[in-house]
Symmetry: C2
Subunit: 248 residues, 2 copies
DNA sequence: TGTCGGCTGTGATTGTATTCACAGTAGCCC
DNA sequence: GGGCTACTGTGAATACAATCACAGCCGACA
């Protein structure tokens, strides 16, 4: 729902005659989780793991785990299971995070600064190489080791740092124009924290991260659960036809 | 994929014999977007809107929009479309955000402070009423108007503020124990920013927000797109069977 | 007041994700 | 070496989400 491509997509034509498998975004999202857990397992000294064990740890069904992995080839040893280290490495290669890649940050407000000091990015192969803002107060300053450039300079700076991914944490004004420029400068992936939808040209991808929307979903779930438990909400609980007459 | 309930769920038995409709989480997520756009439209003075217009604005198909709304009853006027104001209000009621509700924040680190100063929550009906941390430096201080309590005091403080939703932005250590306590204290919805999976009892819900995971998805998408465009990656591009022999 | 255009709400259909269930087999034990 | 166990990988089946397509209706306009 949040990606610019809703559906599965081809993973490239195979040189062999094998049919091009299609991988869904949800599968990719789960791969990411698998890898995280596998790394913990590796640190704990585990060498092999079975699908039902790993599935239990990440909270999916064993069948789904096997299916996800099978999208990319044959990973497991029938009797011993999956090699923890190899599989972690393999998923990294699939995700493209086996080598660290540079990321640009747009908007050095509260959220931007929090992201700059977030260690999780480095740990998983992403390095915020440069920050951008339009505020003259901020331009030229160094935040957590990263210099802040003026947004107008992005066409010069992005190639300099070989950046192909960007994080948007700026003001909503002019966001689409900014996005257009970023894409034109060679960025292919955009993680958008600004609660404003942007569109990107073909070949680029956006992930929206509207945290308030997640709170709204939780609010709905908690509410519907109350109703489910037998208590009837007097005023328009979910499931009730709350719209009586909207014809104005 | 990130909620504790993967599937659709009943929305409560209807008093009439009408079958209990099931609403998927994805529908709820879209409702949230609809409402956001409807509010902008309302500010711009729009009174009625047709499904294809609104659908175009939020980037879904008109059929899907109508289907989403129909899950909750009959909203529209056949000839004039949907009443912008009424529909916005109605979705708020469905989501449970028609009245402001209090939220608790756990962890006043960089991210926690960014969330405290984020205006988007208030705008959409969520008020961070209290913050918690274990750091004696932080306990007792006031951040953006909100006092920081010691995490040990949550059982006292949460009922005091009538809190039923929580945001986790703390250290990963002991996160599950913290979550258990929070749920026991009456919280039904948890938004988890910590990159560590937690489980909750029945009747509670978690939404995971692993931002690095989103970057990984983007990395994969950008990469697979390169392959798609004809360029063959020499080393294990997505779609290639990257796992040769994992039998150790 | 009658006719017509175009919209909503929804049954039917299609497409996709997940689960089931099992064939085939690697490793282990004797 | 042979037999047994239980795991993977995958075709088949199921469940679910999105789309199609149209009946029925509302309001506009003559």
């Amino acid at each position: 729902m949040s990606s610019s491509r809703q559906r599965g997509f081809g993973t490239g034509d195979q040189s062999e005659g094998r049919p091009a498998k299609r991988v869904s975004l949800q599968t990719v999202g789960r791969l990411s989780v698998y890898r995280k857990v596998l790394e913990e397992l590796y640190r704990d000294g585990a060498e092999f793991i079975h699908s039902h064990q790993l599935a239990g740890l990440v909270g999916v069904s064993p069948a789904q785990l096997r299916r996800d992995l099978a999208s990319f080839g044959s990973f497991g040893n029938i009797a011993r299971g999956y090699n923890v280290y190899q599989m972690s490495r393999t998923i990294s290669r699939i995700l493209g995070t086996d080598e660290s890649q540079n990321v640009a940050l747009f908007g050095v407000g509260d959220l931007g600064r929090a992201l700059l000091s977030y260690r999780g990015f480095e740990e998983r192969g992403f390095h915020i190489a440069a920050a951008f803002d339009v505020d003259p107060e901020k331009v030229g300053r160094v935040y957590a080791g990263r210099r802040c450039y003026h947004t107008d300079k992005l066409e010069e700076v992005l190639p300099e740092f070989d950046v192909h991914m960007a994080i948007l944490a700026s003001r909503p004004e002019g966001l689409q124009l900014l996005t257009d420029r970023i894409c034109a400068a060679g960025v292919q992936g955009i993680l958008n924290f600004v609660p404003k939808r942007v569109t990107v040209p073909a070949g680029c991808f956006v992930e929206e991260t509207d945290i308030t929307s997640k709170l709204e979903m939780l609010s709905f779930l908690a509410r519907s659960d109350q109703v489910h438990d037998g208590e009837e909400l007097e005023s328009a609980g979910p499931g009730e036809p709350v719209a009586q007459d909207m014809t104005g």
